[in-house]
């Protein structure tokens, strides 16, 4: 049985982040918005208990938070010019919220290029998703104090350097959308395949990334890459429950039980992919989503259109050549043209990828398929030495042992 939330707790979950977004837009200050919204909730917890919750909790909280903001602004000369505007908002009946613009402006501020990557991720999770500092710290496996300092420093930079919360102009908006997508994808990857640590999937971050990517699509409904990103995340995450075994060891895509793939997520992902392909502009997220879509539609490894996947990797390489992409393309080609071809392509990358664990485990897997255990075993050794992911290390060790036992 789920415990029933009090009206204040319920409102906190649904209204906190949108209220901060609206107040940031109107006051220009993240710090002030956060404080005013907190005070409004404190007042709600007292007043709603005695008077009962209002008919429209969101509107009540917004009005109260605006009043609190004005009180605070009166005490600070920096806000002098903004007070009349906010006071006028208070007097008028709350207009139908243009919440989308508030949220887009808040996201744009959180991923301002003058903020470092870690700060962008922490701010987005805190203020756009409404996670607590402790929740973010737990997700990123850092002490709460560290995350608190990171957020405090980031907020200090925003306030002191004068980072504004506005929707940027055309060209800057395109750059900012790229940055937002980068943050969302980083959050997803952090959750989906944590680079180190005991558990391979920290699901809550995946859920936040899905929520963020769908929010982004609703904010910029004509952006092909936003839809491509949502499709990529949904299609990848559809395999969440199939990609590890009961002991938490990873299972390769080709060995996964496809009946465990989440059909609802696949359908949502394919819908997003279709929408993306109807829009102008081709970019890496849409291309990667297309690859994930080909996997999702295939009933088995043998029925997968590996030649098309290899071709899409070619398109990705044309956008941005990288040895890791070439490695992935080689793995796809190995399925359509055989492991000898795949291995030969991988061996061309040795100079660039010799310190990359996945390069050696991919080679090991080719060598094992070619029945060359004497070469596959040292390749696994090298991959294990280069990995810091416990589950992957255990998995590769198990593969190695089975090769040794013939």
């Amino acid at each position: 049985m789920t415990p029933r939330l009090s009206p204040v707790d319920h409102a906190f979950r649904t209204e906190w982040a949108p209220l901060v977004a609206t107040l940031v837009r109107q006051t220009g200050s993240l710090e002030l918005a956060e404080d005013a919204v907190s005070e409004a909730f404190v007042e709600a917890s007292v007043r709603w208990r005695t008077d009962g919750p209002p008919r429209r909790p969101g509107a009540w909280l917004l009005t109260t938070a605006r009043r609190k903001a004005i009180d605070r602004m009166r005490r600070d000369v920096r806000f002098e010019e903004r007070i009349p505007h906010l006071a006028a908002e208070l007097d008028s009946e709350p207009a139908p919220q243009v919440l989308g613009d508030d949220q887009l402006a808040l996201i744009a501020g959180c991923v301002h290029p003058a903020l470092n990557d870690e700060a962008q991720v922490a701010l987005t999770l805190r203020y756009v998703c409404g996670l607590t500092t402790e929740q973010i710290a737990r997700s990123f496996l850092v002490p709460a104090e560290t995350m608190k300092k990171r957020l405090t420093r980031a907020k200090g930079k925003i306030a002191k350097a004068g980072i504004s919360f506005d929707i940027p102009e055309a060209e800057a908006l395109v750059d900012r959308l790229t940055a937002i997508s980068g943050v969302v994808y980083a959050v997803f990857n952090e959750g989906y395949a944590s680079a180190s640590g005991p558990d391979l999937v920290r699901g809550s971050l995946c859920d936040e990334a899905i929520w963020l990517s769908e929010l982004l699509c609703s904010l910029v409904p004509d952006d092909a890459e936003a839809h491509g990103l949502a499709a990529l995340i949904l299609l990848t995450d559809s395999r969440r429950w199939a990609r590890t075994d009961d002991d938490g060891l990873p299972i390769l895509l080709e060995d996964q039980d496809r009946s465990l793939w989440d059909r609802a997520k696949i359908d949502r992902g394919l819908t997003m992919l279709k929408r993306s392909s109807e829009l102008q502009g081709i970019g890496p997220y849409r291309l990667m989503a297309s690859i994930a879509g080909l996997h999702a539609r295939a009933a088995s490894v043998d029925e997968t259109k590996w030649d098309r996947i290899a071709a899409i990797y070619g398109a990705l390489l044309a956008l941005n050549d990288s040895p890791v992409l070439r490695l992935n393309q080689a793995a796809a080609i190995a399925f359509s043209e055989g492991p000898e071809v795949g291995l030969a392509l991988m061996d061309e990358l040795v100079d660039q990828l010799d310190n990359y664990s996945y390069f050696h485990s991919s080679r090991a897997s080719m060598l094992a398929r070619l029945d060359r255990p004497a070469e596959a075993i040292p390749a696994y050794d090298r991959a294990i030495a280069l990995s810091n992911n416990e589950s992957e290390i255990r998995w590769m060790s198990a593969r190695k042992t089975s090769l040794q036992n013939g």
Partner: protein, 117 residues
């Protein structure tokens, strides 16, 4: 002749804000500024907020590259400075992009420190 005096120090070597040592040093700063002004030779000057608030702007291949943090490339040296007014950081970045050395150098933006009255 006009000279710019650029003040470098290790922030950890300075006394902390709010301590009597800092108050004493502030008095020395105010006195020095007053003396300079009284001499008729004072043209301008400001204290800057700490490097945590710094933003660097470069133009590379025609695109603006903005980064968090102070400038750290040792081969480039400070060659001048502008003091300007802008609504917010984006306004300052827009000016920084137009500075002729942006395509090959770096413009570090540091907000001017505001002292409470």
């Amino acid at each position: 002749m006009k000279y710019a005096l650029l003040l470098y120090s290790d922030p950890s070597a300075a006394p902390e804000f709010g301590t009597p040592e800092m108050d004493a040093e502030m008095q020395e700063w105010f006195q020095f500024t007053a003396d300079l002004a009284a001499s008729g030779n004072h043209l301008g000057g400001e204290a800057l907020t700490p490097t945590e608030t710094a933003t660097c702007v470069q133009i590379r291949d025609g695109k603006t590259v903005t980064a968090d943090g102070p400038f750290a490339e040792t081969k480039e040296t400070l060659g001048g400075f502008y003091l300007l007014e802008a609504d917010n950081l984006d306004g300052a970045i827009a000016w920084a992009e137009k500075i002729p050395l942006a395509p090959y150098g770096t413009v570090e933006i540091r907000p001017v420190m505001e002292f409470e009255q």
